[in-house]
């Protein structure tokens, strides 16, 4: 009898609980006040290198839907260009951007040093996947809002699943000679970090051996997608998000989560000290960590940084796979070093 009554309780309560959990907006404390203040600022400009322009557009649209009355303008470029623009703005004394999102973690050390950021501790940081929390700035100058993976990708129409490389060192196998595609650390923050990690794990010999396979070197990490689709290359060190987006369209691509670890890219976002729309910027940062935003991101095949949002089928959640990543100091110091080494080894 007690069991039955408790079952009934659960039978009644569960749907209610379910309804409660499915409550629309993920609100945070003080959201309304911040929203009012932000509305007065009317619009916000965001420099981002975190994802492609469709995703950036979708993120912005989502923000405008969630917070009507604030226009969201984005300028999507590669990390280098974003930094260059910001630097020029600052030098000219112009305040254009309010929020800055770069994939190159070493940018943030410099930004902090130059005093261009303002601190803000987001309320939504509670929703951030725990694994990312160490990458937030202790002084709250920047917070991780995007993540990506560099892993092994291949074209399924020329490579059978069983023959595909399983770990990073498999790319050195002579059978992939003339068929490997990578990016260039001078153009891409992602590639730079990957190179630093490979050096950390295997020493620079890794690249000397890779050169024997005469890899096809592009610019951005996304060039690997083009190379695979063109069948110019069969395997690549590529990004999870864009490869999956391309695969969703029907292109014959597949991912391999390397046994020795996929490189985890954690991309921070910071609010600029001279932001023309500081309140909107804060609201935006909260939004980047929110469920709505991350739902939009996973639809675009980007990684979610929010605990409660799971990836779409075909991709595995970061929590489930082995990831490796160099530390900030290693990235900061390492990227300029590996750029030179890369040029010496590959001649370009």
């Amino acid at each position: 009898m007690d069991i039955a009554r408790s079952s009934i309780k659960w039978i009644v309560l569960t749907p209610l609980l379910f309804l409660a959990c499915a409550a629309p907006a993920s609100a945070f404390e003080g959201e309304q006040t911040l929203y009012e203040a932000a509305k007065k600022e009317k619009e916000l400009t965001w420099y981002t290198a975190h994802y492609g322009s469709e995703t950036a557009a979708a993120v912005c649209n989502g923000f405008e839907k969630k917070y009507p009355g604030i226009k969201c303008n984005y300028i999507r470029t590669t990390a280098q260009v974003a930094y260059q623009r910001l630097a020029q703005d600052q030098k000219a004394g112009l305040a254009v951007a309010s929020v800055f999102s770069s994939t190159d973690a070493s940018h943030y050390g410099r930004l902090k040093q130059d005093g261009w950021l303002q601190p803000y501790r987001t309320k939504n940081v509670a929703e951030l996947i725990d694994a990312f929390k160490p990458y937030n700035d202790p002084d709250d100058m920047f917070v991780a809002t995007a993540a990506g993976l560099v892993l092994i990708t291949y074209n399924t129409s020329v490579v059978a699943a069983k023959d595909a490389p399983k770990k990073w060192t498999d790319l050195l196998d002579p059978k992939w000679k003339d068929h490997v595609s990578i990016g260039h650390p001078s153009f891409s923050g992602y590639v730079g970090t990957w190179v630093v990690q490979m050096r950390k794990s295997y020493g620079w010999d890794y690249f000397k051996k890779l050169e024997l396979n005469k890899p096809r070197i592009g610019r951005s990490i996304n060039d690997t997608v083009t190379m695979l689709n063109a069948k110019e290359s069969w395997v690549a060190a590529g990004p999870s998000a864009t490869t999956l987006q391309s695969k969703d369209k029907g292109n014959p691509l597949a991912l391999v989560y390397p046994e020795d670890g996929a490189i985890l890219m954690v991309s921070p976002t910071g609010i600029l000290k001279n932001a023309p729309a500081p309140n909107a910027a804060k609201l935006f940062e909260e939004y980047l960590l929110s469920r709505e935003c991350n739902e939009i991101m996973v639809k675009q095949r980007e990684e979610s940084v929010n605990k409660s949002v799971k990836p779409l089928p075909g991709a595995r959640s970061i929590a489930e796979i082995k990831t490796i990543r160099p530390t900030y100091e290693e990235i900061d110091k390492g990227i300029p070093e590996v750029k030179e080494l890369f040029r010496d080894t590959f001649g370009i």
Partner: protein, 562 residues
């Protein structure tokens, strides 16, 4: 000096000269200045030059770029001159088709063509290679786009239209009597063409050679796509390195300086070679232009024309079309891979495309009009020697072209983001940057066009009481109309696909299609890239055709049977 003796239009000339100097000298001066500045302290130093040329790699890049430029210009001659001759002076059939294909080539952004060529001639899976392997049973195809030869080919494909247009304009003005004189002396068609007709177009060809050279060494998009994977060091990709974080703008400026020296050298060479010969071929009377009969050779010529335009336009367009209408371009041709979704997304779902399209054409049109107006005025001032140091003005007008778009953009940025003239964030900084960037083309063309007009036509106006301005308005302007329409297009079209300067100067309110396209190539999203590229090409073609309608009667055509 007596007041009534003063030609009051001299104030206008001085104003125009001032505008030229402001537009060109200001950013350049900033650049030169910063090449001597220490990055942190601003003190005078030569360290930047040491850093820029201290490593062999950087010097090698410069050498590669110069060799690339010369090779590209040479190939442009091989592509452009025969086509210009065929279209202008022979009875080859299918001229309309060839002309349309060349126009299409000119409109197509070179980086779009480069991506298409990777698909066509990639060493492993290029369509051409696979076709070859299929036909001959060979193990591998002979084409490899990731080589110096491939790079030269792709760049030349998109630079030869300049050679075509300049040479054709010059050829159109030559009276057939020149050729007939040679024929009566026993020279055949080939000898006449090589010894009489083509040498008369030498100034035009040289101008086009220089334009092709400078375009080749200043390109960023194509080298990034092909030279990088081909392991070929080039100046623009090296410059990019200097802008890497932390950026060393001063070293970049120092690195770019030798290009100015190269332009000067090219100019000096051009002047030396053509200075002593008279090239005024158009007077108030003039002879006819009759088509040379080629007999069965006309089919050979047509085949060659179609071959060249296939390389530059037809083949890449097939690739672009396939991708624009493909769900997944990696899947290749198949009926179930067709979709209109890409176009729909780009046109309907993404408002930024519409805004970017509008901006692209408006900025392109504005900068073309400005560049042409200024160029014509400066060319006039130089030709008629209205101010002293006219040759220096020529040099100033041509200087911007040698500065890579990126570097010019930085210079512009530096010049116009602080008071008194703050243009950053507005459309004007883009328009003025494009104007400056393409002023050299407008100038070279204006120069050639003006050179061909007999100064006596203006003298006749003046002696009858009209001032110089009236002469320009009533006589020179109308006579130049067709040539000017051509020159307008020569600025408008590159402005619509201009990337390297736009990428630094745009903001959310002033997005343009080239940046959108480039972003897509960065993102590996070739389907959308092709869809946007298709819109750009079709939109520009439509505007160009409309423009042709507006240009009236061609006064340069000579006597008919009467």
């Amino acid at each position: 000096m007596r007041w009534r003796h003063l030609d009051k239009s001299v104030f206008l000339w001085l104003l125009l000269v001032a505008a030229l100097l402001l537009l060109v000298i200001n950013p350049l001066a900033r650049l030169v200045w910063s090449s001597f500045q220490h990055g942190a302290t601003g003190a005078f130093t030569l360290d930047n030059y040491v850093a820029a040329y201290g490593r062999w790699r950087y010097v090698e890049a410069l050498v590669n770029s110069v060799v690339l430029g010369l090779a590209v210009a040479a190939v442009c001659v091989v592509f452009g001159v025969p086509l210009a001759w065929a279209v202008s002076r022979t009875d080859m059939p299918g001229k309309g088709l060839v002309w349309a294909a060349i126009l299409g080539t000119f409109i197509m952004p070179s980086y779009l063509g480069a991506v298409a060529w990777i698909l066509l001639a990639g060493p492993n899976a290029g369509w051409l290679n696979r076709a070859y392997m299929g036909l001959t049973g060979a193990a591998a195809g002979p084409f490899n786009i990731y080589t110096k030869a491939g790079l030269v080919l792709v760049i030349a494909c998109y630079s030869f239209p300049y050679m075509f247009v300049f040479t054709r304009s010059a050829l159109d003005l030559i009276s057939s009597e020149m050729e007939e004189a040679a024929t009566t002396l026993g020279a055949g068609v080939l000898r006449t063409t090589l010894r009489v007709t083509l040498p008369l177009t030498l100034p035009a060809m040289m101008a086009a050679f220089i334009v092709a050279f400078l375009e080749a060494i200043a390109l960023f998009g194509v080298p990034a796509l092909i030279a990088l994977p081909g392991r070929i060091q080039l100046m623009t990709t090296t410059l990019w390195q200097f802008f890497e974080f932390p950026p060393r703008v001063q070293v970049a400026a120092a690195y770019a300086m030798p290009l100015l020296g190269i332009t000067a050298l090219l100019f000096w060479l051009q002047q030396r070679l053509i200075a002593r010969k008279g090239y005024v071929a158009l007077t108030g009377k003039g002879g006819e232009r009759r088509m040379v009969k080629l007999g069965s050779w006309r089919w050979v010529m047509l085949a060659y024309c179609l071959f060249v335009t296939s390389l530059s336009f037809f083949l890449p367009m097939v690739v672009v079309l396939q991708a624009a209408f493909a769900k997944a371009w990696g899947r290749g041709f198949s009926l179930d891979n067709l979709t209109l979704a890409n176009l729909k997304f780009v046109v309907v779902d993404q408002p930024i495309t519409r805004a970017a399209t509008l901006h692209t054409f408006v900025y392109g049109g504005a900068s073309a009009a400005l560049a042409l107006g200024l160029a014509l005025a400066i060319a006039y001032i130089v030709h008629r020697r209205l101010v002293p140091f006219g040759n220096a003005l020529s040099y100033v007008a041509m200087a911007p072209f040698v500065i890579p778009g990126i570097v010019l953009a930085i210079g512009f940025y530096a010049a116009y983001t602080s008071p008194p003239l703050v243009l950053y964030g507005t459309a004007w900084i883009l328009i003025l940057a494009f104007t400056t960037r393409f002023l050299p083309i407008a100038y070279a063309n204006s120069n050639a066009a003006l050179r061909a007009i007999n100064p006596e036509l203006e003298d006749a106006v003046r002696i009858l009481g009209g001032g110089r301005l009236l002469a320009l308005r009533r006589v020179v302007g109308p006579l130049l109309k067709r040539g000017l329409a051509g020159a307008f297009l020569l600025v408008f079209i590159p402005a619509t696909r201009e990337l390297s300067s736009a990428i630094f100067l745009y903001t959310t309110g002033t997005q343009v299609l080239s940046v959108l396209l480039f972003d897509k190539s960065d993102e590996g999203n070739f389907e959308y890239l092709s869809a946007i590229g298709l819109i750009l090409v079709i939109g520009t073609v439509a505007l160009v055709l409309a423009g042709f309608r507006l240009v009236g009667r061609d006064f340069m055509l000579k006597r008919t049977a009467a």
